[in-house]
């Protein structure tokens, strides 16, 4: 059940909406054709379709503007990738959505407690793996979900291990299990694979896709990796100079994206948007 922040909603008439399909009262087709039964009942009365509805969000540090007038809507079950160069403010936006930063202007409607996966696995080194997955979870049924989540990321056998004994990829899988065991409406990923080697990253992409298919949270993936965004996301946003400068519905098939004809062109387009020449094409 979603707990929503007690923040003012913007008037839909005055707030410019990104080029996403208009909200409809009936359950919309999932962009990936996933079934999302049982989810509509949990949706708040205010807005059935949008898990995140941010309008005019601005944030500055000591007078230096990092985010300027950001409008962002994320639909239920939608996988959004947020691309941006270092220092573009993408992590700041994620921290605002994660409720870790409340000193922003504008209005935000989002789950009060989204799950977050950080770039570092951020496992408590003094708690065993299963304890980390279930951190802050008290009731027994929810703790069993934690065991299931650990099994889903293939680490059921490591429940009693100390985090220091895990490899980087394993630790990040535990962090994913910790995030998903809570059945979040919104999953925030802050460059979660940035510190992993290329081979592990490929495995993690595959795992993340299958986990998202199972749990169907709305996802905001913050990354600077164009390929990663193109492989995983339904929709890609580019953050440039503290504004969202580009909003793309990814017109690629669910599987075999890298082989799709459009892939190189989209890649070049996004790189250009990020101010990088694509030498390969």
């Amino acid at each position: 059940m979603a707990v929503h922040a007690d923040l003012p909603l913007t008037d839909p008439a005055t707030s410019p909406s990104p080029p996403s399909p208009p909200p409809s009262p009936s359950a919309p087709p999932d962009p990936r054709g996933r079934r999302r039964w049982g989810r509509a009942a949990a949706a708040p009365a205010v807005d059935r379709d949008h898990v995140v509805d941010a309008a005019g969000v601005s944030r500055s540090f000591d007078g230096r503007g990092v985010l300027h007038d950001i409008d962002l809507q994320i639909r239920r079950g939608e996988f959004v990738a947020l691309l941006g160069r270092s220092g573009s403010g993408k992590s700041t936006l994620l921290r605002i959505l994660a409720r870790l930063d409340r000193d922003f202007e504008g209005s935000l409607q989002a789950p009060e407690r989204p799950s977050v996966v950080f770039q570092d696995s951020r496992l408590l080194p003094w708690a065993r793996v299963l304890e980390n997955v279930n951190l802050g979870v008290e009731d027994r049924a929810a703790r069993e979900r934690g065991e299931q989540a650990l099994a889903d990321v293939g680490l059921a056998g490591h429940a009693g291990a100390w985090p220091k004994t895990l490899s980087g990829g394993e630790a990040q899988r535990v962090a994913l299990a910790r995030a998903l065991a809570r059945e979040p409406e919104l999953l925030l990923l802050d460059e979660p694979f940035g510190a992993l080697d290329a081979l592990t990253r490929i495995k993690m992409h595959r795992l993340l896709r299958s986990l998202c298919a199972k749990h169907t949270p709305a996802v905001l993936l913050v990354t600077h990796d164009v390929d990663e965004a193109l492989l995983l996301a339904d929709r890609i946003l580019v953050l440039t100079e503290s504004r969202i400068s580009f909003d793309l519905q990814v017109p690629l098939p669910e599987l075999g994206r890298r082989q799709a004809d459009d892939f190189p062109a989209l890649r070049t387009r996004l790189l250009t948007e990020l101010g990088v020449e694509d030498d390969d094409h």
Partner: protein
């Protein structure tokens, strides 16, 4: 498809970095023969010293009233043990040390928690503690005698005071040093303030607590030695002071050895508990 992929990732062990492999291979310096050789080399120094002492005493180069010969120290120790004097004084010294240590640890940790977890506590406590820490604790002896007399209390109080500071300083620094990113994590998983303290702050500051404890134990003995020699009618320190007035260097040396053994034993005990409580820091203990 999803289930299959999950399993593939699970079975892929080839992607794990070489950390485990490196640890599994014994480094050359740790092979048993080298350990034996090194222990032997290290024992050489003390053995030589003992030989010099024995030879010096036997030839009269070291007069008896300067330092008793090793054999006499040994027989004195046996005499004191069989008469029960040593055990009686040892128990009294131990009781003072343990009592003072317990009080000091409780005070130091309590103050560190108050100062580390609340802004008011920080401003009230920390400045005072940082100011007082620069004062040598034994400089308090004259004042302590006026306040507590020369009975049992003063010894326990001095030990407790000496212990409070290293406990406070190390635990407080550790609480302050708990990584901010874990506090962020705690917020995202919805830990309340008490749960944050119990699950994150306390375990995270445990390494600092143990560092403080090891300092504290060493200081406890140091303060006890001094306070028992100033004004006491019992304890190891008293035994040594009494021996001094009779020029019994053998008894003094026995007292020194007992103190050394006490220090060594207590440090070993603390290290044992430290290893157990901080087993998460070692990568070899589980898996």
């Amino acid at each position: 498809m999803s289930v299959k992929n999950v399993e593939n990732v699970a079975r892929d062990e080839a992607l794990r970095p070489g950390l485990d492999d490196r640890l599994a291979q014994p480094s050359p310096a740790r092979r048993p023969p080298d350990v034996l050789v090194r222990t032997g080399t290290r024992a050489l120094g003390p053995v030589l010293l003992l030989l010099v002492w024995t030879a010096g005493s036997a030839t009269g180069l070291i007069p008896h009233d300067v330092l008793a010969p090793p054999g006499e120290v040994l027989s004195t120790a046996q005499r004191l043990l069989s008469s029960g004097d040593l055990q009686q004084h040892l128990l009294i010294s131990l009781r003072r040390a343990v009592l003072g240590l317990a009080l000091g640890v409780a005070a130091g940790v309590g103050l560190a928690l108050l100062a580390g977890l609340s802004r008011v506590g920080e401003s009230l406590i920390d400045a005072n503690m940082q100011m007082l820490r620069s004062m040598p604790i034994l400089a308090l002896v004259p004042l302590a005698i006026i306040w507590f007399g020369i009975g049992e209390e003063i010894k326990v109080v001095l030990v407790a005071l000496g212990v409070t500071f290293p406990m406070y300083l190390n635990t407080h620094a550790a609480i302050r040093g708990v990584d901010r990113k874990y506090v962020d994590l705690a917020a995202t998983v919805g830990l309340g303030r008490l749960a944050l303290i119990r699950r994150v702050v306390l375990p995270g500051s445990l390494p600092g607590f143990f560092t403080g404890l090891r300092f504290a134990v060493a200081i406890a003995w140091l303060v006890l030695v001094v306070s028992e020699q100033i004004n006491a009618s019992s304890g190891i320190g008293f035994l040594m002071t009494q021996a001094r007035s009779l020029s019994q260097t053998d008894v003094i040396v026995v007292g020194l050895i007992v103190y050394a053994l006490l220090g060594l034993t207590s440090d070993t005990i603390v290290r044992f508990f430290e290893r157990r409580a901080l087993s998460w820091r070692s990568t070899l203990t589980s898996h």
